[in-house]
């Protein structure tokens, strides 16, 4: 027996609710050696999580292993009855889910949940288990390892919770740990310490791992080998270095190209016209709760933010989650009225509350939300969704409106036949295009894009960015582009505003991002973005004082 895990000709079927059977994993075979970390990479729906789960002998409801073998340390797991599989889970193989926040029970203390595995399998006395957990907390570089177990899940940060769920997975001394996108939901600066903790623990214990992710740069830091998946089939297997630098398969090349979108082609040497800026934001203060006499809300989210945006230009706003960037978009759109400050569109002040803005003012400024799933009403057809702004702002009806809907679909490169479908019948990228088309239907001058590519796969996101650029060339639009992803912002923006804790840290050109950004926080943020280089994480040095000062963890 040489390999810890052997997967041979694995096939997984899923049954849809009309009784049709769909093959979601087709003939997949691979091995994992002892102590080796293998990454499964691919876009959403490629079957990477499904494969990872079969290593525990588990399939999600409605799915079943239709053929092939999964062998874990010499014994087959795919054909065992459920109670025998359960005996091996937690002791031989364990799982770290994507959202640690959703997988901890909020009603129990963390320590009780971490040592639960040892209780279920009767591995060791409770005191010993607690001691072992504290050791794991130390190994995972958690603060206050002796007492953190006495807290409840909501009392620790997202990055800490993710490491705690790793401790939960490691306490039974498994030979194989499955990481299912464990850092996808984290900020870049948090991601670094979580990755570092995972890497050192896995190396120390010589534990084999399966790392499921869609992010090549993250995988490059931790994996020994990479398996590239698409539509439930293996496209390419290779050592990390080879995949990154000598990709064989065209799909792998496509993934690598999409990782670094082409920088925004700026029009050089156009004389700066002295026209008034399209959007001016002046000393905005906003937040939630009652506003006191001095004009400060009880929970202040945005503090004195100002910037200008010129016609035909794009402004990026970046920052980590909770820095107030999405709130800023809502304030500008008037959804959340500001407590202080002014928003001027083409020199005219806009009312803070959208209910008192005129229909023309509303039309000029459209907002596109991050999640197209919730931004499109699932009960309406695509044509109905696009028709409403046409009727509402332009009073269009009948054939003229139908023709305009077709035009809009053409503009966002979707087939006209989609107009009768409902949002749930479209893919994520298609939905986001509809979302954009709705903003275009208003003939807006400025579109506020709130993380519109964050929920999409890299290849799809790159296509959306291309579309945005194309629309800008043809319709002289301006975008206010909010994102936490620096490469996206770099690809589309002329200027970037860095925000931290509700304040504007600085405004700079994306060209100098990473190199000589003025403010230490900007430098920290830019240096935290993973690079497509296996040695990046180990070689990364960050000033611990800056890290301390800008970590609200």
């Amino acid at each position: 027996m040489s390999n810890l895990v052997e997967v041979r000709n694995l096939r997984v079927d899923a049954k849809t609710d009309s009784g049709r059977t769909v093959e979601i994993i087709r003939d997949v075979s691979f091995d994992i050696a002892e102590g080796e970390i293998v990454a499964l990479i691919g876009e959403s729906g490629s079957g990477k999580t499904t494969i990872a789960l079969t290593l525990m002998g588990y399939t999600r409801p409605g799915c079943r292993i239709a053929g092939g073998k999964v062998t874990l340390s010499g014994r087959e797991i795919s054909n065992l009855p459920e109670h025998k599989r359960a005996r091996r889970r937690g002791t031989e193989v364990s799982y770290v889910p994507q959202s640690a926040a959703a997988s901890f029970n909020p009603a129990h203390k963390i320590m009780d949940q971490v040592v639960e595995v040892t209780k279920i399998h009767r591995l060791m006395p409770i005191d010993e288990a607690r001691r072992k957990a504290v050791e794991l907390f130390k190994a995972l570089a958690l603060p206050e390892p002796d007492t953190i177990g006495d807290r409840y899940p909501h009392q620790v940060s997202g990055g800490q919770l993710q490491r705690l769920s790793a401790a939960m997975a490691l306490i039974g001394d498994p030979k194989l740990v499955i990481f299912d996108e464990p850092t996808t939901a984290l900020d870049v600066t948090t991601q670094i310490e979580v990755l570092r903790a995972f890497k050192s623990v896995m190396k120390k214990g010589a534990i084999a791992g399966v790392y499921v992710s869609h992010d090549l740069a993250v995988v490059a830091q931790i994996a020994d080998r990479i398996i590239v998946l698409k539509n439930g089939e293996i496209q390419e297997v290779g050592r990390t270095q080879d995949i990154l630098h000598r990709p064989q398969h065209p799909y792998t090349r496509e993934l690598l190209e999409a990782f670094e979108p082409a920088p925004h082609g700026r029009v050089v040497d156009r004389p700066v016209e002295p026209e008034k800026p399209l959007l001016v934001v002046k000393d905005i203060v906003a937040g939630y709760g009652r506003v006191d006499e001095t004009g400060n809300p009880s929970v202040k989210v945005i503090n004195k933010v100002s910037f200008e945006l010129h016609r035909g230009k794009n402004l990026g706003i970046i920052g980590e989650s909770g820095c107030g960037k999405s709130t800023l978009a809502r304030v500008i759109a008037g959804i959340l009225p500001a407590a202080q400050g002014d928003v001027l569109l083409e020199g005219k002040p806009l009312d803070r509350d959208l209910r008192r803005r005129s229909r023309n003012e509303l039309r000029d400024l459209q907002i596109v939300f991050q999640s197209a799933d919730t931004a499109l009403n699932p009960a309406k057809s695509i044509a109905d969704i696009l028709a409403r702004p046409l009727a509402f702002y332009h009073g269009m009806s009948g054939q003229r409106r139908d023709a305009r809907i077709d035009q809009l679909l053409d503009m966002v490169h979707l087939p006209r036949s989609l107009r009768h479908r409902r949002p749930t019948e479209l893919s994520g990228g298609q939905k986001q295009r509809i979302n954009l088309a709705r903003a275009l239907a208003a003939d807006a001058k400025l579109i506020l894009c709130d993380e519109i590519t964050s929920a999409l796969d890299t290849v799809v996101a790159a296509a959306i960015l291309e579309l945005l650029k194309e629309l800008q060339r043809e319709h002289s639009l301006s975008y206010l582009f909010i994102s936490h992803d620096l490469s996206t912002v770099r690809a589309i923006c002329d200027e970037v505003v860095v925000m931290y804790a509700g304040e504007k840290i600085e405004q700079l050109s994306p060209d100098i991002m990473g190199s000589e950004a003025g403010h230490p926080y900007s430098r920290l943020l830019f240096s935290s973005v993973p690079k497509l280089d296996t040695g990046w994480l180990d070689g990364l040095e960050q000033d611990p004082h800056v890290l301390q000062a800008y970590s609200r963890r």
Binding site: A379, E425, R438
Partner: protein
């Protein structure tokens, strides 16, 4: 128990319209309800005897060929009385549940969209109404104003509006936080459009289920009011009143008291089962 009617397989041309899964229990319940509705509409034509006529000299008569469901305490034909009673039971309940659900759902959605003082004020007011026991409230209103069919409908509607309001508001509050409602708001849409076009389609499924459930409650409350003599007045009688009239026959095991009870049971249980087994939409649309 569940039969798969994958109509999408047989109707390949239009899978969109027919992608529903129907269960046997749901189908049977639906047929029973449809039968009672038809009875309510066509009662005068199918009833063998006029409702008030004393047709038998014997009271609490047994099941016979001439009187299939026996006779009541005055010797009137039970079959005819149950057939005509369906009109009152189904009709009054349906009217009341429509009024209650319309008011409740509209107010609930409006409160969820407007929020603030309007929401708080309306919610507390309707909570106060909920705190009064429904039967006592019904008795007080009917005793004070007198009984007639419109008053019965209004009374029942008033009693069941707060529950409907609570239910619709709770659902609408969830929908109200969705981004597509925010988008519509940012577009500058008014409250009427928001509740009609953005929120209502999202809550219509649960609201219909609630509609059916409330219909059952109203049938039962109406029956118990009639049983107490405050519902439909003689010589007409709904099913509750029929049970009350003939309660004296219980000791004789008279069919006159059993059959109206069975009628109430079949209707309410069927509505309940139908709600639990509504056709489910098949989400898998990627048919070849």
């Amino acid at each position: 128990m569940t039969m798969f009617l994958s109509l999408s397989n047989t109707q390949k041309a239009r899978p969109r319209r027919f992608g529903y899964r129907i269960s046997v229990v749901g189908a049977v319940s639906f047929l029973i309800i449809a039968a009672w509705t038809l009875v309510a509409i066509f009662a005068p034509y199918i009833a063998p005897h006029p409702v008030g006529d004393i047709v038998d000299f014997d009271f609490f008569g047994p099941v016979s060929a001439q009187f299939p469901l026996g006779t009541d305490y005055l010797g009137r034909d039970m079959l005819s009385r149950i057939l005509l009673g369906a009109r009152y039971t189904v009709g009054i309940s349906l009217a009341a549940v429509c009024v209650a659900c319309f008011c409740g759902v509209t107010l609930g959605m409006t409160a969820a969209v407007i929020g603030g003082w309007f929401d708080r004020g309306l919610s507390r007011m309707l909570d106060a109404l909920t705190s009064i026991p429904s039967k006592i409230l019904a008795l007080v209103i009917v005793a004070a104003v007198g009984t007639s069919i419109p008053i019965l409908i209004v009374t029942l509607a008033i009693i069941y509006t707060p529950g409907c309001y609570r239910f619709a508001r709770a659902l609408a509050v969830n929908i109200n936080t969705m981004d597509y409602v925010t988008v519509a708001r940012a577009r500058g849409e008014g409250i009427g459009y928001l509740i009609r076009s953005e929120i209502l389609p999202g809550i219509i499924g649960p609201v219909l289920a609630d509609f059916g459930l409330r219909f059952v409650f109203i049938v039962l409350l109406l029956s118990s009011m009639s049983f107490l003599g405050l519902g439909v007045q003689p010589p007409f009688a709904d099913w509750g009143a029929l049970v009350k009239e003939n309660i004296g026959g219980l000791s004789f095991a008279a069919p006159a008291v059993i059959f109206p009870s069975i009628a109430i049971a079949t209707l309410t249980i069927s509505v309940n089962l139908l709600i639990d087994n509504l056709p489910q939409k098949i989400r898998d649309r990627s048919e070849q």
